[in-house]
């Protein structure tokens, strides 16, 4: 655990872009690009959990993979503990991967079906020369114990395990190399509720005991509220709102976040809140809308022509100073929102009118989550 008030990020991402070319035509030249990630910036501090949330195709998984260079970024910088990750050659990158690991969503397809659990967990130890001979077995046993598996699970194959047990193996494999940072890509989405709770508790225990930092990628907002210190909401390849968890859930300001929260089914038949049902589907990231990418589906009462013109800056809003979740992570606790119709905004009236605005910005804050 880091000292309260730590202000140096472990991971710093600036203006990250991942564009996939669309090829076609006679010579297979690029005809355009799918802008999967289109200018994303965030920090992850030691020992904290930053959640990236959003719906399918918003770019959250691509962001997570680009950070680990499992996918090469098109532009932007990725700094891990002072190292420029994008500039690394293959050997230094391999070394860095000891520090940065990933746990995948699907425990059924992310484990090699022909390798025993023990061999899967030992692989990282052997590659990074972290243990030798009999030491490997001892370490594997320790790791299995830490994730709540029995020593005899080491000789089993993935098909002999339940979904929850497989996900524990995936976590043990990531932990084997003693990383400081783990990308958790939808780690509990494929699990049943009761098993999901077991795995979430395990991830939280490991974070507390080892001071791990997590980039927690998820679509389930109730899971995210439970695990995250800070939350970044993505839509069409961009971060549209970011805030400490409690602030985001108490006062979501980006109309997309409001709709997303209001859509979460609440297990309380008497819950009083406003349901915002968005029209239509998420537009294609190959042809994102102009201006604010959310404007065609936006429910903000002040939405007007300017929203289709002005690219909204991610700027501080909300009732600052914001209460922290009590985790003492200290830094980057501001509430940033990309919406020119939620005051205050540095896109002033004159600029908005020049872009065709007919409505002045006005705070819109529907009750979307039960309190």
């Amino acid at each position: 655990m880091t000292a309260p008030g730590a202000t140096t990020p472990l991971l710093s991402v600036r203006d990250l872009k991942v564009h996939f070319p669309i090829r076609g035509g006679l010579f297979g030249g690029a005809r355009g690009a799918v802008r999967a990630v289109d200018g994303v910036s965030f920090d992850v501090f030691p020992g904290e959990t930053l959640a990236l949330v959003g719906e399918s195709g918003c770019g959250k998984t691509t962001t997570g993979r680009a950070v680990l260079r499992l996918i090469e970024a098109t532009a932007g910088t990725i700094t891990f503990d002072g190292t420029d990750v994008r500039a690394l050659g293959s050997e230094p990158l391999r070394k860095l991967r000891r520090q940065m690991q990933i746990v995948f969503q699907d425990p059924f397809s992310s484990l090699n079906p022909r390798m025993t659990v023990g061999a899967t967990v030992a692989e990282g130890l052997i590659i990074h020369r972290l243990a030798e001979g009999a030491g490997i077995d001892t370490r594997v046993r320790q790791l299995l114990d830490e994730v709540g598996l029995r020593p005899d699970h080491a000789s089993r194959y993935p098909h002999e395990l339940s979904g929850g047990q497989r996900q524990r193996v995936g976590i043990a494999r990531a932990l084997a190399v003693e990383p400081r940072f783990i990308v958790c890509d939808e780690p509990v989405s494929a699990l049943d509720v009761s098993v999901q709770a077991q795995v979430i508790n395990l991830l939280q225990d490991l974070q507390r005991d080892r001071g791990l930092a997590y980039l927690f990628i998820a679509h389930d907002l109730s899971v995210v509220e439970h695990v995250a210190d800070r939350v970044a909401v993505m839509y069409l390849g961009r971060i549209v709102e970011t805030a400490p968890g409690p602030a985001l859930y108490a006062e979501p300001l980006m109309p997309y976040t409001q709709a997303l929260l209001s859509a979460v089914p609440v297990p309380d038949p008497d819950a009083k809140r406003q349901r915002i049902v968005l029209g239509g589907d998420v537009p294609s990231p190959a042809a994102p809308p102009s201006g604010c990418v959310f404007h065609p589906r936006c429910q903000h009462p002040s939405r007007d022509a300017a929203c289709a013109v002005i690219d909204p800056p991610l700027e501080p809003k909300g009732s600052a100073p914001v209460e922290t979740s009590g985790t003492g992570k200290g830094a980057d606790l501001v509430h940033l929102v990309a919406c020119i119709k939620q005051p205050p905004t540095r896109v002033d009236d004159a600029m908005q009118r020049a872009a065709g605005a007919t409505n002045a910005p006005e705070l819109y804050l529907p009750v979307v989550a039960p309190r």
Binding site: G164, Q196, A197, S222, P265, V282
Partner: protein, 344 residues
């Protein structure tokens, strides 16, 4: 319930497997009233999907519905019906929608032809009538430019639109019962909200009954008026929806509710249900939940609990109904004490 649409009595569906007989559905009884939405809840492997398939008699291969079971739809026992007549029930009287819309649709047929085919097969509609029906149904499920969409193929549609098409297909013959098996599980949360609203809307307009199968208690809270909770092939609790969230009786239901992280609830550790569902070839004697239960005592090992009446329309398969004082003394469940990947 004076005149229920569907009465299921003592439904047993077994599968012959290498490991022995899997009693996937093991004595399930329930009713669905006209115009009502009933939620059927449980985790993977509890038997909820097999229950749904049994209602349509879509169990084949190694599976077998016990002929003593009764599935009475509008006074007719479907178990005894010849296959020819059963085919008439499917799609006409009972329709079903599945979790993954892409695999429920034919990739090489336009969606209009697929919807129209239902009208041609079940109502003997002409090609032109079928086409008109398809457009009408697409409009009903809220698809913009239905004339144009009818000529498109499934891959040209988004996930939410595909699920709308599947719903449109299910509704062509105005069925009296719609079985929806995890209809929104594969969809994003904002699209899920759209589809649930659509289901509520068409149900009200058509006066249909809906059996909604889901693992998500939040979805149930927002759509159903009654809930059935299944565990290990049995219904373990049945209750009006309000009551199950306010006062769940069965320890499994209680555990499920407490294990759910929810928006608006503050942090802390999530309660877990230790262990996992036993395989359907090895349902334990006595209470099937007892190894995972924090209240279990020796009676639970000895005596298979019946469905006890708890209140109006509320039953629970737990001996706590007759020995409620046991609830005051929870202990570590056996499954947690014995380790096995269940701890933490």
């Amino acid at each position: 319930m004076a005149d229920p649409l569907l009465v299921v009595r003592n439904l047993h569906t077994n599968f012959a497997t290498d490991a022995g007989i899997a009693r996937a559905v093991d004595g399930v009884s329930f009713t669905v009233a006209r115009g009502e939405t009933v939620g059927l809840v449980g985790e993977s492997g509890c038997g909820k999907s097999v229950t749904a398939l049994s209602l349509l008699r879509l169990i084949d291969g190694a599976g077998r519905i016990d002929p003593q079971s009764e599935i009475i739809l509008d006074g007719t026992n479907l178990i005894a019906l010849p296959e020819r007549e059963m085919r008439n029930v499917r799609g006409n009287r009972i329709a079903m929608i599945w979790q993954e819309p892409l695999s429920a649709l034919n990739p090489v047929m336009t969606v209009g032809d697929q919807i129209g085919e239902v009208a041609r097969v079940h109502a003997g509609a002409s090609r032109r009538e079928a086409r008109a029906k398809a457009v009408e149904m697409l409009r009903l499920v809220g698809i913009a430019a239905p004339e144009q969409r009818a000529g498109e193929y499934p891959h040209q549609l988004s996930g939410g639109m595909r699920q709308r098409v599947v719903i449109a297909m299910a509704l062509v013959m105005s069925p009296s019962l719609l079985i929806a098996d995890e209809p929104t599980t594969a969809l994003d949360v904002t699209i899920q909200a759209q589809i649930l609203e659509l289901l509520r809307d068409v149900q009200q307009r058509m006066g249909m009954s809906v059996l909604l199968i889901t693992h998500d208690l939040g979805v149930v809270a927002e759509t159903a008026s009654r809930v059935l909770v299944m565990y290990a092939g049995e219904v373990v609790e049945e209750s009006p929806v309000r009551e199950i969230f306010a006062a769940a009786h069965h320890p499994y239901t209680e555990g499920l509710l407490r294990a759910m992280p929810r928006v608006g609830a503050t942090g802390g550790r999530l309660a877990v249900i230790p262990g996992s569902v036993p395989p359907p070839t090895e349902w334990p004697d006595g209470c099937r939940f007892r190894d995972r239960c924090p209240y279990a005592w020796e009676r639970c090992e000895r005596e298979h609990p019946p469905l006890y009446q708890i209140g109006a329309g509320h039953t629970s398969r737990c001996h706590l109904a007759v020995e409620p004082e046991r609830r005051a003394h929870p202990h570590t469940p056996l499954a947690a004490a014995s380790g096995a990947g269940a701890g933490r």
